[in-house]
Assembly symmetry: C2
């Protein structure tokens, strides 16, 4: 089977209402309001060099440097999100704002190509002295991704030109050669960006630089040790205590446990999987597979939230999956989507697409409010009503990660090889794919994720033999399919989560797919202490939660869902743009009759209560109140 590659976002038209609405919101509200925030917080101003002292608006954080150190990346991510949005609909006002930023970057760039506004504006002599902490190459990575998206949307490549000059400088500085620094960034990101740039430009040097950074990581003598000594510091006094924090504790091929800062881990693994594809590197492939299995076996929330601890913004012990204190950063789930997509193209296995979809519809999508102007950074699965969405964040990484993901979602639906087309997601798209046998026009019609009834119209230029591969999600039992009304044996033709329909296709062919979507109860492994005696509700790819808004009468923590209670699926046209809720007859623990007692020998009474659950991603869009995913089972 030839290699699958994703059909790019620019080549996929989102037509379904679910994603159109999100895309319009990002374009109309998120991108403009984020630009306002970037301005108000001094981030845009920090690009206007020479400028010896842009105002410092934030206190120093625990890393002992200011948050400005990664502001370039925020600008890069905003451009990237804008680029994706512009590919759907051009907008002169947004483009003018991007151009102004590119002007500033052009002016700021050093004659030798170096371009980091934090160092250039403050400590130009200290560039490349603290790769461990100061995000220099990370910033470059996000600018590259921004440049690619903007170029694909508008055809303007001035930003990419600037960045390729910068990359040439980086290539001269870093590498195994005489006089070069054997460094790499404490925060992976540039690696995956360089590979994306290689995909766009075909320039092998970008792939090689990415491979160098990945391969060098964690080697001895340790670059971060040497660099710390050069700064006059004791390497042992690294604030995070261990290089596990940034996944440089071992060479990457020897890493078999998912550790450290969650976003860094996901970005690194994404690049590793990319390289495994590009270089057919089985060592990297095996490492990716081992790491994937490790995180999936014991280190991921049901919402796809990753990294339970705030202290390291990352991973802790196996099965340590608290609900209320879950850090579960939005960025980490967005980055998991990147990794899952790369794994899927390393091996077309539905388990990767299942996780991609789970992360997309739950922790990642939930990071952006319905209004497009509020955000979650951490995503606890339970809360008493205090955890609310932010308008902006001191570290605004998640805001633009949410918007760039939503705006680029079209790029995750379809892949193709020479002779096959694979659908990973559903929700209403059309696209055209070029196979060896010629072009094929595809139109997928559905109201997914609300319904699993999907129609796919397949229209090759001329009749042709090829395979259509349709993902049968892991949660979908008894899926049915037919071609032009004739049933297909789904079970017999499904392997690794994909139903293969290989035939001679011609214009007018239509495939019907039915993915049953009953409400489901989900239980966690008994080692997950936070979920003991609790149940989560799920339907299709959506994890549900109970919120006080739908369950008035006190904290939802007092609701009890009987194990045998029937779960009803209800269409709710009155909520948001029309959603599906789940309801059940349950009870609520009552504090009646306690009369000031704190402890007593009678158990608390219970009152009947109707329990209503809505999708987790929609939480905290309707005022204050308690929320929980894992509901106590009575």
């Amino acid at each position: 089977m030839s290699q699958f590659q994703p059909v790019r976002f620019v080549d996929v038209q989102l037509e379904g209402q679910f994603w159109r609405e999100r895309l319009e919101t990002v374009l109309e509200r998120t991108i403009p309001s984020q630009h306002v925030q970037l301005g108000e917080h001094g981030i845009l101003e920090s690009l206007t060099l020479p400028n010896p002292s842009p105002p410092l608006r934030y206190p120093r954080n625990h890393h002992d440097f200011t948050v400005q150190v990664f502001w370039d990346s925020d600008v890069g991510k905003w451009i990237e999100a804008a680029g994706y949005a512009l590919s759907h609909r051009r907008d002169a006002a947004i483009e003018a704002k991007v151009e102004k930023i590119v002007d500033d970057l052009e002016k700021a760039q050093s004659p030798d190509g170096y371009l980091n506004c934090w160092y250039l504006g403050r400590e130009p002599e200290k560039r490349w002295t603290n790769l461990r902490d100061n995000h220099e190459l990370y910033n470059l990575g996000h600018l590259i991704e921004g440049g690619i998206a903007y170029f694909l949307a508008t055809g303007r490549r001035r930003l990419l030109d600037i960045l390729e000059r910068y990359i040439a400088h980086v290539r001269a500085i870093f590498g195994p050669g005489e006089g070069q620094k054997r460094g790499y960034c404490g925060h992976p990101e540039v690696e995956l960006a360089l590979i994306r740039l290689y995909h766009l430009t075909g320039k092998r040097e970008h792939l090689d630089l990415a491979a160098y950074f990945v391969n060098e990581r964690g080697r001895q003598p340790h670059y971060f040790d040497q660099e710390a000594i050069a700064r006059g510091e004791n390497p042992k006094s690294f604030w995070a205590k261990s290089y596990e924090y940034n996944q440089s504790h071992k060479p990457v091929r020897e890493q078999d446990k998912v550790v450290g800062h969650a976003v860094r881990a996901m970005y690194l693994y994404t690049a590793m999987a990319d390289l495994a594809v590009e270089l057919k590197d089985d060592g990297l492939r095996r490492a990716c597979e081992v790491l994937w299995d490790d995180v999936m076996a014991s280190k991921i929330c049901i919402t796809s939230g990753l990294g339970p601890a705030a202290a390291n913004e990352g991973f802790t012990a196996d099965y340590d999956l608290p609900n209320e204190s879950a850090y579960a950063e939005t960025c980490a789930s967005v980055a998991l989507i990147f990794w899952a997509q790369r794994m899927l193209h390393l091996d077309l296995d539905g388990k990767y697409a299942d996780m991609l979809e789970l992360a997309l519809f739950n922790n990642a999508l939930g990071g952006l409010a319905r209004d497009g102007e509020h955000y979650f950074y951490s995503n606890p699965l339970e809360d008493e009503g205090r955890h609310r969405r932010w308008v902006w964040h001191t570290c605004p990484c998640c805001t633009m990660n949410a918007s760039r993901l939503v705006a680029s979602v079209a790029g995750y639906f379809v892949s193709h090889s020479e002779d096959a087309i694979a659908f990973h997601l559903y929700g209403g798209i059309s696209t055209e794919v070029a196979l060896k046998s010629g072009k094929v026009r595809l139109k997928e019609i559905s109201t997914y994720p609300w319904s699993g009834d999907i129609l796919i119209e397949v229209a090759p230029e001329a009749p042709a033999e090829f395979a259509l591969k349709l993902r049968i999600p892991g949660w979908a039992r008894d899926a049915k399919a037919s071609v032009n009304g004739k049933a297909v044996d789904v079970k017999a033709n499904t392997k690794s989560g994909y139903l293969t329909i290989a035939r001679r296709w011609e214009k007018g062919d239509a495939v019907s797919l039915e993915l049953p979507m009953p409400a489901e109860r989900i239980y966690a492994h008994p080692a997950v202490r936070a979920d003991a005696d609790r149940v989560a509700l799920k339907r299709g790819p959506l994890v549900y939660c109970v919120e006080e808004a739908d369950n008035p009468g006190g904290p939802v923590q007092r609701l009890r869902l009987p194990r045998k209670a029937e779960l009803k699926v209800e269409q709710r046209k009155d909520l948001f743009d029309g959603i599906v809720s789940l309801t059940a007859d349950g009870s609520r623990v009552s504090d009646k009759g306690w009369d000031g007692e704190l402890y007593r020998s009678e158990p608390p009474g219970e009152e009947k209560a109707k329990i209503t659950a809505l999708p987790f991603y929609l939480r905290d869009n309707r005022g204050e109140g308690s929320m929980m995913v894992w509901v106590a089972e009575a």
Copy 2:
């Protein structure tokens, strides 16, 4: 009714096996081993002045000063514990060690009476410049308590003489007069100690100084503000952020919510209640009652653990009573016993004695290991096996609080007024009480807390009318009593938790009291989220817990106790010196069949399991393993 006062520890002989064993352990093992630790950690050495620089063995802590600042108090508490123990049995070796300390203190004392070894040894010019943080008067308080106990046990009052010279100096420095500092200690303690010294000496000046400190607390202009300004600091930069931390946020009579550092709160309330008794001060009395009700309604663990948060070693929100992260410092429960005892003498109400007993038998007693040489500082109600007893602690306050409490327990059993004798605790004691009508010899015989069958022999010198008041614990239902075999109507004669038997007593009279002790299930108010769907087991005054040692097969967190399961009371002569365990048929959640899955649609299976619970105070005496008080109810 005339005022009750406690029969002092020196006048009560402990005869029951339960407390004899503890007392012997403290005398034989705890007192000597603590002296070794005081030596090994430089604490004894810090008293040998002039000594410009005793070795600094600890890193600076978050208070930004070293732990040495309160080392004098540790010495004071060790002397106090030794004093109580010596009152039961003299020991020349221990007494020689005390005398050596008294020699050192005598030499260290300034000509003007000042005696704080930390300041004298390091910054003599800075004395009395940081009452907020540096425990100067707190140290004096503990030395006073040590001096009293040692004097009562041995008749030697050299330490008290030294301290009375110091107190005279303190009295000159602090007060409302011209040129005096209007200060008081950030950590209350000296107040209750001064009142104890007043009780011993009858010197009104000690009571007045205590009253001054209590009344001055929290007044405006705020002394800690002024003091900070005098040090050149911004008072707003107080690390604890609020004076709630040390209960100086308001004048004490206006305080109606229990806030801040738990030990400080309890020591302060103890002195407030003492003063309410001594000065018949209704404002203080009302404040104490309101604060008592506040803590009992929503801020105390079932084990009597107080102060859930490590951050302030203290109180947080109502009903915030976590199990695994409960700080519940040993010292706080010891101090609660002091407060409860004072409240009991303000108002002979069994609710105070119930709490005194609960704290004694659970959180406080549990702070000292069975071997007498290991300690708990924080006392979580649940743990996965990582929370283990310490041999010593950087801040060793709890070690000597545990030993001084256990060694002084005889002082909590009996009180008397002119014409009444009240029994608060049971467990095997004898004593002699002087009433107006003459002396009465009393002997209480029981194996309490293992059994509630109690015999009290009452032997007045000559036949006399007086009342015997026997506490009927709040947990005891259907208590029975008889005098010389003749039944007493317990219900009719019990008020506020005390059964009054008023009659003409003569030698040979015997009272029999039966307090039924079935195993009980206890439930927490539904607002206590950590205890939802959980049950605690209790028998008599003892709270039970399940430990892996008795429930092998994995973490006890997986045990499930059916609501209807019978709780069996078992005598276990094989465990410790003979205890009572509770057992029930329950189940254990099984991880069989999960095969690497983290989430699935089938709930976990369960296996039958016998559940065995032992008293909480005995936990972590038999090797590692998980433990919990609040067991999941199935």
